[in-house]
């Protein structure tokens, strides 16, 4: 059984604030972290390998400093890391990212052997699209199972998997053949914290860099050139002030006034 986990390094968006004066993002001191949903993917990958044997591989596409994210994954228990990095990849949208990553995974298969399960997070907390996972599946010609909240069983002999998918109004139980691409939601597990010992051990694990030439894809299918979508404008969400009627002063009087308004409004509603 061979598992590849795709992770993305992201800014910790809970730290990102808007500067009210200049209306721009304030990012001083904002840390780069492993996309939180990807920690669940890493954990699930390690659990699959603990059960069925094999060495979980972790892969990221990003600038050189994305190596830090890979180190976290190695410390959690992945055995081998691939850093897909090249100037040519800069500016990739989800189509180009998925194409590049899928091509890299196919390349890895040539050295490490065929992959049975590719794991991704539900979405990255910066781009927030959730499109890279299904895109990789299409490019690898394997079925995508998105929003997976539980892997019920894997049969390595028959090459099948049964999962639960978390939908808006219920759970769907799906059976599928391997190989497969899975995107996970946070209900699936609780990720482990690496111990100091494992962090040390991780420094000795293989970290392999793949550039455009290593993967052997045409330059016009990745980066800006391979990206049909353009980010045209970035701005902070503005609040249109409605200049409403805001009561202040004696609580009792305020409450009575607001109830008046509410009853008026409520005429069309089942008050």
């Amino acid at each position: 059984m061979r598992v590849v986990v795709c992770i993305k390094q992201v800014p910790d968006t809970t730290e990102v604030k808007i500067n009210p004066e200049t209306n721009t993002l304030m990012r001083e001191g904002v840390q780069s972290i492993v996309n939180p949903f990807d920690e669940f993917a890493i954990e699930e990958g390690i659990r699959i390998q603990e059960k069925f044997g094999g060495e979980p591989i972790v892969i990221t596409m990003g600038p050189p400093q994305a190596e830090e994210a890979l180190k976290t994954a190695l410390a959690m228990g992945c055995d081998k890391a691939y850093l897909v990095s090249d100037r040519a990849f800069a500016g990739s949208d989800t189509l180009a990212t998925a194409y590049t990553l899928a091509s890299a995974i196919k390349k890895i298969e040539q050295t490490d052997g065929p992959v049975d399960v590719v794991l991704c997070g539900k979405q990255a907390i910066d781009g927030d699209t959730g499109q890279v996972g299904p895109g990789i599946a299409v490019r690898m010609n394997i079925p995508p199972l998105t929003y997976v909240s539980k892997i019920r069983e894997i049969d390595p002999e028959k090459k099948t998997i049964i999962v639960e998918r978390l939908m808006e109004r219920g759970k769907e139980v799906v059976k599928c053949s391997l190989p497969v691409l899975i995107t996970v939601v946070k209900d699936i597990n609780s990720p482990r914290y690496p111990s100091l010992f494992e962090i040390k051990k991780a420094a000795k694990k293989p970290m392999i860099k793949l550039g455009l030439a290593d993967i052997g894809i045409p330059e016009n299918r990745t980066g800006l050139k391979g990206s049909p979508t353009w980010v045209n404008k970035v701005f902070s969400p503005e609040l249109k002030s409605v200049n409403g009627e805001i009561f202040q002063g004696d609580p009792e009087e305020c409450a009575v006034k607001l109830v008046d308004r509410l009853i008026n409004l409520g005429k069309g509603v089942s008050l």
């Binding site: 808007i18 800069a90 500016g91 989800t94 998105t146 970035v234 969400p237 409403g244 009575v256």
Partner: protein, 395 residues
Amino acid sequence: MSYVTINKEACIGCGACVDVCPQSALYMKDDKVEVNEKCNLCGACIDACPVNALSIPREIKDSACLADYRGVWVLVEHDGKKPVNVTYELIGEGRKLAEKRNTYVGVVLLGNNVSHMIDDLGSYGADKVFLCQSPVLEHYRTEAYGDVIVDMVKAYKPEIVLSGATTQGRDLAGFVATILETGLTADCTGLDIDENGNLLQTRPAFGGNIMATILCPNTRPQMSTVRPKVFPVPEKTDKKPEVINFDFDFSKITIRTEVLEYLPFEEKISLADAEIIVSGGRGLGKPENFEIIKEFADTIGAAVGASRAAVDAGWISYEHQVGQTGKTVRPKIYIACGISGSVQHLAGMKHSDIIIAINKDPEAPIFKVASFGIVGDVMTIIPLMTKELKKRMNA
């Protein structure tokens, strides 16, 4: 490969771009901006520059073949009985786009025995229904649905394809756009058309902290998933749509998934459908105080919502959370109690018809969007209102 292009002549060295760069790729040298290898061409700096000294080296391709693409399509999501609301919302919004483009609104209806939905879809504004029915399409499955839609798009060449940003809609659109090798914009909250026929797709990113407008100038169709409850459901008419039956040879594809069973949740609270919602936030101070909110909500027949701060504190369960990472709601009346009005909370409720805020801080951002409000302590105001309401209802 390229980085963001800097016009050194134009640069006035103000540093505005340095402050907004998410990658810390820009820095000042000799009063001019420089770029380093961290630049990932995200474009955040372009608009920050007051003198337009920054640009991204892109090419617009010959647009002649794009003109073959006509029509605005909506991918119908349904439960076998009727379409889900976001489908109607998108038909309404699609109508507006189609009028600007002088073209038709088409809907794509797939399933097994689903033709009873045709007239319903027409009555909300669909001009054409592209229909494909087969036992293979009984349950939604990415590969089967996706393969049919890809063939339909190739045959009829729509210029825009919209789908709900639901689990199914995102799954399906991601699959279809990748095969068609066209752009897909995720989770849009605003759509418009420019003079060149480009769809201006506006969406939140970075956890709702920023908004981005995305274009797809060189490929067709332009595809977007659109967040539910952002656009209103259009008025019904008695229009009858044209039906196009689409034949698909299912023997040519292998479908590798099988739906074994579906386990629906017990819907206890249906926030999404409530006409009135009363929500509590961190300002309630402690879990017991939610009882005051619940009693008030019961009095006016409202559902109970919450901010993430209240959910994270363990005062109420996640199903009640409204916002970016919770539910998006669009009730007639939304009453926010002890909620500050963060961008993430607003993302889930700002399209409510009427917003009412009760907060002790007159500067709280929630008052900006409130049609009515009280500056005061929720623990005092809410019980007073409950009492007053009960008095009037009994009268």
